[in-house]
Symmetry: C2
Subunit: 212 residues, 2 copies
DNA sequence: CGGACAATTGATTATGCTCAATACTGGTGG
DNA sequence: CCACCAGTATTGAGCATAATCAATTGTCCG
């Protein structure tokens, strides 16, 4: 299994930069741009600010002291993150690729239905729980690919900005098992790889059957 | 692996019974009593009511079409459950042992800080995610026992009202592996079993080290 | 005391992990 | 433009952990 250290994942490049006023008519929250790999916040950091992904993608993860890593979520454009109980973050957040975020000073600054947002996150977490607890490797991959396809809204085409390591740590597998499971799905003509990070779902129906 | 069916878990004994007025001075919500094994609500049921455990214990779980089951949480006295997005439950809820619940007509009827409650549940789910994704069998057991001990507030004594099947489905293991992992912890003098469902934590420090 | 269910223990198998080697990819410089 | 290099991904062989199948043993009730 790939093992991680906090140091190895330290962010050398994070920078906060005010952005020009956007096209939107309403007043905007301050914004920030992060390089690929840049840390947004760390476990233990004082919490408060809320973030919404404008462009790019963010990984949220928890790190065990021996370096094992669990990615709890990938945040895509539109997604909100940074909510924490008791004033202190219990997750790391990092930009997977170059990313732009809207930053809100507090939960209250969000305009939408915060309760619905939280309930949605809870629902997602419970699904993920089922995948990790009760699905086999290929099924986990299928679940991940279907989820990414749905969220990207690009039909049967998925692209994966994150590395195999990120995917493995999200699915509770190793990179080798991710690779082999993808190969297996491809042999079964369920997906097709156009390069490692661009995947076409050939039989979404069967894939859905694998995860219920 | 133990495989479940919805039918097998059907609740023959659920009954709603108004309780006498409690000692508490403020007006009370209607209450209900459930036999061991009784269904409280099912996946797909119309949601709305909120429950708080008064006595007993409740399991929440998701069921896959082939019978695999993932228990997402055990609710102990004081815990609130039944929150669902979009008007429809996505989990089953059942009484593990004889259980009494306070029933609230809606989320708004809860007096406490609902936001903090949801954030807490999210935090718990993320912890559980890490356990399922990145811990070995014995480590999962350790995590579960420490959690139960902390929540029961009985120091180093834990009692387990739920069966090995429930524990296995909570930890993403089989009952045999749960049994063997307990035996292993016992051989290492970390715990001691007084009967299958009463466990003493002999070395909580080391157990904590196993889960970080 | 007996019966049914729950839990443990044993033997074997299978899935995914580890260690290792090879192949691919994208960016850089000759 | 192409060769090279570093990082990333794939593939292979053997191993370890947990699952499966099966047989006891233990426990709670009636």
């Amino acid at each position: 299994m790939t093992v991680h250290s906090t140091r190895e994942f330290a962010a050398p490049l994070a920078n906060l930069a005010p952005l020009r006023a956007p096209a939107s008519p309403r007043p905007v929250s301050p914004a920030a741009r992060f390089e690929a790999g840049a840390r947004i916040f760390s476990q233990g950091d004082r919490a408060g600010k809320i973030y919404r992904v404008k462009a790019g993608i963010v990984r949220l993860y928890r790190l065990l002291s021996d370096g094992r890593r669990q990615v709890t979520a990938f945040c895509l454009p539109g997604d909100v993150f940074g909510l924490a109980p008791e004033g202190s973050h219990h997750l790391f957040a990092e930009a997977v690729e170059e990313t732009q975020l809207a930053v809100y000073p507090a939960l209250e600054a969000l305009d939408g239905d915060v309760m619905a947002l939280l309930l949605g996150k809870l629902f997602t977490a419970q699904n993920h729980l089922t995948v990790l607890g009760r699905h086999q490797a290929a099924e986990r991959l299928a679940s991940f690919l279907l989820d990414m396809a749905a969220r990207q809204g690009t039909g049967t085409r998925v692209d994966l900005p994150m590395s195999r390591t990120d995917i493995a740590d999200y699915l509770g597998l190793t990179i080798e098992t991710v690779s082999r499971s993808l190969a297996k799905l491809q042999q079964e003509r369920l997906v097709r790889l156009n390069g490692a990070r661009h995947i076409e779902l050939l039989d979404a129906e069967t894939l859905r059957g694998m995860v219920e």
